[in-house]
């Protein structure tokens, strides 16, 4: 579904991505963990070409997206991103946040848009707030609307860039719940996150990234109980110790 | 895509509205329609110069000796007169570029000015006067202008030119230039200036209506006033000279003189 080969990206002197290879199969839920600065977000942004990689190839559903001749807009609708800071359109109501892309990208007519918006808002549990403005919603509510916005496009996969990192702890549950439900519906998901519990329960694969490279890639049971690499062990030890505090 | 059309439409609508508004304002303003057109004669003047031109306090209209002459010229040309009141030092530029058709503003004919515009036959002769506050006793003659006193003039008038060139008057720093005479008079009255140099007729007019000021003495510069038109506008120039000749021969000139100068 998504194929990344030998991806490199530098910002000035800093090498953020140092040759990344990754595969995400259809229906798979892949969770990427790692310390900050390891290049996790940059990896996601390169996959959607929000950031142009210096070297390497990205293929989405058969289309080589890194090819300059490709129309990016038509590919992006299949791999929308849910951002850490939600990025809802603040001047539009929740339901209009969703129907904007439906109108401009999928060219649905009014009736279809309304129906689809209702459908996805219901799925994330925000139907009663469809006329609310983002400024009136809590973080968790906004993120759920953001997920609905991505879902509405009938995408082939959804990318999540630390979706709960900006939320108060009490609110992460509602968002993770929605993500869990998407996973069980068979959605292909590539998630960058610190939520270990979520990864343990929902991920098909866990990928550990450090300093722009993928260090280890395996099933959650293996990764969390007995990883092969030392560095993975170190990271998990530090991370779990901190979160226990 | 409809939103793009909306944006373009908005910009276009605003600009068109601005254009229409501008057009409406311009045609109502003096000189609107690009200097004089077939029916208008646009006069440039500086209405701070009684009795030649000033604003009548009661009627709020600009009137004076020069204005009446302008009306005669307009009548002879079969056009309506429009008056543009601006600062004196902008008048020559204005007639040069054509924003006004002619200038009648108590303007002295000088060689320098004659290079920029064409002057009519002289229509008035006069001198300069030195105006001071009524309680001023130290300035009574020519030599008294020698000390470091502050003199006010109107920019680019013959008073200004004369003061700047005369050796009796100390460095230019003493001479304060104003776009309008009225400001200079106010300053003098207030005490910010010691003297103002202005043509004799307006000096008489100002001091008689403002007893706090008086004329110290006259400077016999023997100037002649002329009416200025754009260089090369021989048609209008002939019209002006013909009107002046008519006013003299018919006795109207004397009537106007009596009306404004006695």
């Amino acid at each position: 579904m998504i194929t990344v080969r030998d991806l490199h990206k530098s910002f000035g002197e800093t090498h953020v991505l140092n040759g990344v290879d990754l595969d995400v199969e259809k229906g798979e839920v892949v969770v990427v963990i790692g310390p900050s600065g390891s290049g996790k977000s940059t990896l996601l942004r390169c996959i959607t070409m929000l950031v142009k990689p210096d070297k390497g190839k990205v293929e989405v559903d058969g289309t080589v997206i890194t090819d300059p001749k490709v129309n990016l807009d038509s590919v992006r609708r299949n791999i929308p991103t849910v951002f850490q800071s939600f990025n809802l359109f603040m001047h539009l109501k929740a339901k209009d946040n969703i129907s904007l892309a439906l109108e401009v990208v999928l060219h649905m007519d009014k009736k279809e848009r309304e129906e689809r918006a209702h459908e996805v808002l219901k799925k994330v549990g925000m139907l009663d707030k469809m006329d609310a403005y983002p400024g009136e919603l809590s973080g968790g509510q906004q993120q759920r609307v953001a997920i609905a916005r991505a879902l509405a496009l009938h995408p082939k996969a959804i990318l999540f860039d630390e979706p709960t990192s900006a939320l108060d702890p009490e609110l992460t549950g509602e968002v993770l719940g929605v993500m869990r439900s998407l996973a069980s519906d068979g959605m292909t998901m590539l998630v960058v996150s610190h939520e270990i519990e979520f990864a343990r329960e929902v991920a098909d694969r866990v990928v550990f990234m450090e300093r722009g490279k993928i260090v280890e890639d395996g099933k959650p049971e293996m990764m969390f109980t007995d990883p092969r690499e030392d560095r993975t062990k170190q990271f998990l030890k530090r991370f779990l110790a901190m979160s226990k505090r | 895509m409809s939103r793009l059309a909306m944006l373009v439409g908005l910009v276009a609508a605003v600009l068109i509205a601005a254009g229409v508004g501008a057009y409406l304002i311009i045609i109502q303003s003096p000189g609107g329609g690009g200097g004089g057109s077939a029916e208008k004669l646009v006069l440039g003047t500086c209405a701070d110069f009684p009795p030649f031109e000033s604003v009548n306090i009661t009627t709020k209209k600009i009137e004076g000796f020069d204005i009446d002459i302008a009306k005669e010229i307009a009548a002879k040309a079969n056009k309506t007169l429009q008056i543009v009141d601006m600062q004196f030092d902008g008048l020559i530029s204005a007639v040069k570029v054509g924003s006004v058709d002619l200038v009648i503003a108590g303007m002295t004919i000088t060689p320098a000015r004659a290079q920029q515009v064409d002057f009519s036959d002289p229509y008035f002769g006069g001198n300069q006067s030195v105006v001071v506050r009524s309680d001023q006793t130290g300035i009574t003659k020519w030599d008294d202008l020698n000390r470091s006193i502050k003199i006010g003039v109107q920019t680019d008038t013959t008073g200004d030119i004369w003061a700047s060139n005369h050796s009796n008057i100390q460095p230019l720093a003493q001479i304060v230039r104003y776009p309008k005479f009225t400001t200079a008079m106010l300053e003098l009255d207030k005490g910010g200036l010691d003297a103002v140099i202005i043509d004799s007729a307006p000096a008489k007019s100002y001091t008689s209506s403002h007893p706090s000021l008086k004329i110290a003495f006259e400077i016999p510069t023997k100037e002649k006033f002329g009416i200025a038109v754009k260089k090369g506008d021989s048609g209008l120039l002939k019209l002006v000279d013909d009107t002046l000749a008519y006013l003299r021969s018919s006795g109207k000139y004397d009537e106007l003189f009596k009306k404004w100068f006695s």
């Binding site: 929000l50 807009d73 038509s74 590919v75 992006r76 609708r77 299949n78 800071s85 990025n87 809802l88 359109f89 603040m90 001047h91 904007l100 892309a101 401009v104 990208v105 403005y133 983002p134 400024g135 009136e136 953001a146 916005r149 | 939103r3 793009l4 908005l10 910009v11 276009a12 605003v14 600009l15 509205a17 601005a18 254009g19 508004g21 501008a22 304002i25 311009i26 303003s29 000189g31 609107g32 690009g34 701070d48 604003v55 709020k60 543009v84 009141d85 601006m86 600062q87 902008g90 530029s93 204005a94 040069k96 570029v97 054509g98 924003s99 005479f181 009225t182 008079m185 106010l186 009255d189």
Partner: protein, 262 residues
């Protein structure tokens, strides 16, 4: 530290009272200054002049309206050009803004009134020159305001739209610009007021608007107090009215949860 807190607390508590006292003192001062003029022998003259001044105020409003609209239409284009990735478009708009912001408005007015007509060899009514100068001047500042409004929209908004597959142009039209307009409103409010005040500069080229009339009367009557203060009060009325009205509009279109209140 505690003493300071105490003091600040006291100031805050009495703040409304302090403001009222200051306001009353100012009103008393104005009345004291204006009273002799408004009731003395010149009172009739001053009150009689009011319609004359108000005519000028109407012209001021008309001029300001046209200049604001001109500035708005052109300003939107300039603002968009300033955020363009096209080097040529960005470059041209930057030069435009730098030149207009870097020269005094009065100089620009004179250039339009005297330089441009001479260059193109065709006369310009002063009103047209004034409107063009005022309008272009405002368009440069409004352009910068729109640019600021656009750049104040968080980049996340743009990224989110693009990552959903929305192309660049619709992203600008549906996501960025609507928010940018809202951001720009307070600054636009300020700019519109500035245009009203700047319109007074047109007196220098002979436009008979509010300040020109007030100044003229002040000079002729030697009564600066009622006329200059009066003109100031009229301008203040105009600017406050405009400002309050725009603030009301701002409030009306405010999105819940978005942006700061004025």
């Amino acid at each position: 530290m505690d003493k300071r807190h105490e003091f600040v607390g006291k100031v805050r508590k009495y703040q409304p009272l302090i403001l009222i006292i200051i306001l009353v003192l100012i009103i008393i001062a104005i009345i004291y200054v204006l009273y002799p003029v408004l009731t003395g022998k010149d009172a009739l003259l001053v009150w009689d002049s009011l319609p004359f001044l108000l005519e000028g105020a109407v012209l001021t409003v008309e001029i300001s309206l046209v200049a604001i609209m001109f500035g708005l239409g052109l300003g939107i284009v300039v603002g968009l050009a300033r955020v363009s990735k096209n080097r040529m478009i960005y470059g041209m708009s930057t030069v435009y803004i730098e030149v207009i912001r870097g020269t005094p408005l009065i100089v620009q007015i004179f250039i339009w009134a005297f330089v441009v007509p001479q260059i193109i060899g065709y006369p310009f009514p002063s009103m047209l020159a004034g409107l063009i100068a005022l309008g272009m001047h405002s368009s440069a500042y409004q352009g910068e305001i729109f640019r600021g409004g656009i750049q104040a929209v968080p980049t996340g908004q743009y990224e989110a739209a693009r990552s959903l597959g929305v192309p660049h142009l619709p992203t600008m039209l549906y996501v960025i610009l609507p928010q940018a307009f809202r951001n720009a409103l307070p600054a636009l409010n300020n700019e519109f007021i500035i245009v009203i005040k700047d319109s007074s500069l047109l007196y220098a080229i002979g436009v008979f608007e509010l300040f020109a009339r007030g100044s003229n009367l002040a000079g002729v009557t030697f009564l600066p107090i009622p006329f200059y203060l009066g003109v100031a009060i009229i301008y203040l009325t105009l600017t406050l009215t405009l400002s309050r009205s725009l603030a009301l509009i701002e409030k009306k279109i405010q999105i819940p949860g978005l942006g700061v209140s004025a």
